[in-house]
């Protein structure tokens, strides 16, 4: 069977060390080249990442001016307290976790399943299907939302029969009924994102050498075993990457609930997700320190989850040889 291919660590753990010796002997020209290649990224990381984070930390520690006390100054961790004790704080995280709990598993299973199917379908059929899956992804952002507004509005929807069968007559009922939104967002984000991730994961699958697949076939692996025991472990880093990026997207949900609220005549809470709450802190309450604190809380959470995925899934980890 394909066990020999399955867990490289069991056979190569002792030999991973010698690579460390090479670190000492890397030539200066190599190092310089690496830094030159890295420098545009570092600049962008500074401008779009490190500096804003530093500024957010500074802002979060300030005291917000209020009508009663317009003075600013140092406020310590008061703004974090404001955020944690806000009546919407837990609700927004509950909402986002409820959405992620439904959406991420469906998304990951959908990506893996469809990508493996495509990879296992040789020739024209596979590439046609890959293109078909990709089409909804072309409807990004607003266009996707407009499409969904039609689907969700029982008065105009092509799935009108379904809505009436479940007793929904207006878009307000469809969107604003308790518990509906996570499922609606799941459907929206799945169709929007699944196509492009299939392409990414498919790229990973195409990178698997023919020799490997042949060897597995010679070992007697059928199509199912090939997918489960050979292809999946090899593309694990890609799946980690997909999970990480989708998780980051899910945590930043803003546009979809904000616009669905408008089409549902404002029947949804204005602060349904943490980012919407951060926005409200900044531009409804003029409490920029609290907005910065909210951003930092999100940063810590996503960073924690992100690092966990990176080191657990082997994303960018040691290469299989």
């Amino acid at each position: 069977m394909a066990t020999a291919l399955m867990d490289k660590r069991s056979t190569s753990a002792p030999t991973a060390k010698p690579q460390r010796h090479r670190t000492k002997t890397s030539r200066p020209s190599e190092t310089r080249g690496a830094w030159i290649l890295l420098s545009p990224y570092v600049v962008l990381l500074l401008v779009g990442g490190i500096i804003p984070v530093g500024y957010a930390v500074k802002t979060a520690l300030e005291k917000p001016p209020t009508p009663l006390d317009p003075s600013g100054g140092f406020g310590g961790v008061a703004s974090f307290k404001t955020v944690f004790t806000d009546f919407r704080f837990l609700d927004t995280f509950q909402n986002v976790f409820a959405t992620l709990a439904i959406w991420l598993p469906i998304m990951m299973i959908g990506i893996v399943g469809l990508a493996l199917l495509i990879h296992a379908s040789p020739g024209r059929f596979g590439s046609t299907m890959r293109f078909v899956y990709y089409i909804p992804g072309a409807l990004a952002g607003i266009a996707n939302l407009v499409l969904w507004v039609y689907l969700l509005n029982p008065a105009q929807s092509p799935i009108e029969g379904f809505w009436h069968a479940v007793g929904v007559d207006t878009i307000k009922q469809a969107v604003a009924a308790p518990g509906h939104l996570p499922f609606i967002l799941t459907a929206m984000m799945f169709f929007q994102g699944v196509g492009s991730w299939i392409v990414v994961v498919n790229g990973g699958l195409n990178g698997i050498s023919d020799e490997t697949l042949e060897a597995a076939a010679l070992d007697g692996a059928n199509a199912w075993q090939l997918a489960w025991h050979v292809k999946l472990p090899i593309i694990r880093p890609w799946l980690g990457y997909a999970a990480l990026m989708n998780l980051a997207y899910g945590f930043q949900l803003f546009l979809e609930p904000q616009l669905l609220d408008q089409v549902a005549s404002n029947a949804l809470p204005d602060q349904w997700t943490p980012t919407q709450l951060g926005y409200a802190f900044a531009f409804s309450n003029y409490n920029f320190p609290a907005a910065a604190a909210m951003s930092l809380i999100l940063l810590v959470i996503t960073l924690g989850i992100g690092l966990l995925i990176v080191f657990r899934s082997g994303l960018f980890g040691e290469d299989d040889s």
Binding site: R20, A56, G72, T170, S265, N287, S295, L299, D319
Partner: protein
């Protein structure tokens, strides 16, 4: 995968950095400190002015350009979404930068005046001594939303008092008599719902619904005490009478849970046989949006509550103009010319505006022009009711930093749409209103 000869430690470091940067994008918000309406030096452009208007007010700005070609006026069209937040965001940033404010603006939501004149943004000029003649032309109850701590911080574009609308043709055919009190309205609505299923006596699903019923009842949802204090008490007897009326209407299916602006309202609007509603409902909703045939709808004086000596009504919208306090000299002079024009000039208020002018002296001219359309079943009664209704708008209702209308749509409208009773939805409305007010920094009295 093929090894590319890159060391795992290095790659891990880069990977971690990539994760950091991906997550760092989350801190996009909160990157400007809130400028508390800091006193910046007033500037003078030498005369050129910039005005911001929502789409329906573009004709007003264009009429001004035509009437005053000597004043260089830049018109910026802004998002007219009621309850939008983008405007607040822009003003916070102007304060931060100490420049960029428009010289005059039409606020898309009346609630905008709360932050625009509040201590933090503090954008609107006190007009009390700048345009005293214009202010004199407003009835007290019409200009009251602009009177904040005894300063007039805006000018009212149009008055939007609620009157009582009914379908005269339907009433005559069925021998119904027009209700005089809110209680009679409730009873008749239940009767009509029973005798003519599908006919409607009101809408509860829009952000103006609490204005229509709660404000009209004198229910303290927006009773401003000071910059930081507000009186909210939904258990007040005045609130309870509105709640009981709504519960009765909803239970009998006499009112629709959709809102007047919903796409679905256009389909069922023709079935509206009576309802309290704003003066502008006649032209905007009945004639233009729902296309109810001419000669059917008519308005009468607002309803009174049992035991009250005079009618009591709410108000739905009626836009506000604000003017910058950051300007001086010729720029200020020209901005005030613009202010006078949009508030009082017949070339806008009579010829182009569809709402009842807030400025008293031009109301009769507007009525004369609107009467030419011959749309209402009884023009004379309708326009008399519209003109007189401003006097019956209940006091103690200010525009505040929290938006009662959107709390209503998120709790009551959403609750009723998903089958809750008024009583169940009311609890959620009360809790959310108090929480939002507190979150905005108000102390509840």
């Amino acid at each position: 995968m093929k090894s590319r000869g890159v060391r795992p430690g290095e790659v891990r470091a880069v990977a971690a950095a990539a994760v950091v940067s991906a997550a760092a994008l989350l801190t996009a918000c909160g990157s400007s400190a809130g400028g508390a309406g800091a006193d910046v030096k007033q500037t003078d452009s030498g005369g050129a002015i910039t005005v911001w208007v929502d789409p329906p007010r573009v004709p007003a700005a264009k009429a001004f350009q035509k009437a005053h070609p000597e004043i260089k006026t830049t018109i910026n069209q802004i998002d007219g979404t009621v309850g939008g937040k983008s405007l607040q965001q822009q003003f916070a940033q102007f304060n931060q930068a100490g420049k960029g404010w428009p010289d005059a603006i039409f606020f898309p939501s009346n609630d905008d005046i709360a932050w625009a004149s509040g201590a933090q943004v503090n954008y609107t000029a006190d007009l009390t001594d700048l345009v005293p003649d214009v202010i004199k032309g407003y009835a007290d109850e019409v200009i009251s939303p602009c009177k904040i701590d005894d300063k007039v911080r805006c000018l009212r574009n149009d008055a939007a008092p609620d009157v009582f609308w009914y379908n005269k043709t339907f009433f005559t055919q069925n021998g119904y008599s027009v209700p005089k009190t809110w209680e009679e309205y409730g009873d008749l609505a239940v009767r009509i719902a029973k005798e003519h299923p599908g006919k409607l006596s009101g809408f509860t699903g829009d952000a103006y619904a609490p204005d229509r019923y709660l404000w009209a009842a004198g229910c303290p949802t927006n009773a401003r005490q000071s910059e930081t204090e507000v009186h909210i008490d939904l258990n007040d007897a005045k609130c309870v009478r509105a709640k009981d009326l709504l519960a009765k209407l909803v239970q009998a299916k006499a009112v629709s849970t959709v809102g007047i602006f919903d796409a679905d309202a256009a389909k069922i609007g023709k079935d509206l046989v009576m309802s309290p509603g704003a003066a502008w409902w006649g032209d905007y909703l009945f004639r233009q949006s729902w296309k109810i045939p001419a000669g059917q709808m008519t308005a009468v004086t607002p309803l009174a509550w049992n035991g009250d000596s005079k009618p009591a009504t709410g108000n739905e919208g009626g836009g506000l103009w604000g003017f910058s306090r950051h300007i001086t000299g010729k720029q200020l002079e020209n901005t005030l010319t613009f202010a006078k024009f949009v508030a009082t000039d017949p070339r806008w208020q009579v010829e182009l505006s569809t709402g009842l002018p807030a400025y008293g002296p031009v109301q009769d001219a507007w009525i004369a022009k609107q009467s030419q359309q011959k749309y209402f079943a009884d023009d004379k009664t309708t326009f008399a009711a519209i003109k007189g209704a401003t006097a019956f708008v209940q006091p103690d209702h200010s525009y505040l930093l929290y938006n009662t209308g959107s709390v209503w749509t998120e709790t009551v409208a959403a609750g009723l749409a998903s089958g809750k009773t008024v009583d169940q939805a009311w609890t959620g409305f009360n809790d959310e209103l108090v929480k939002q007010a507190k979150a905005m920094g108000y102390t509840i009295k």
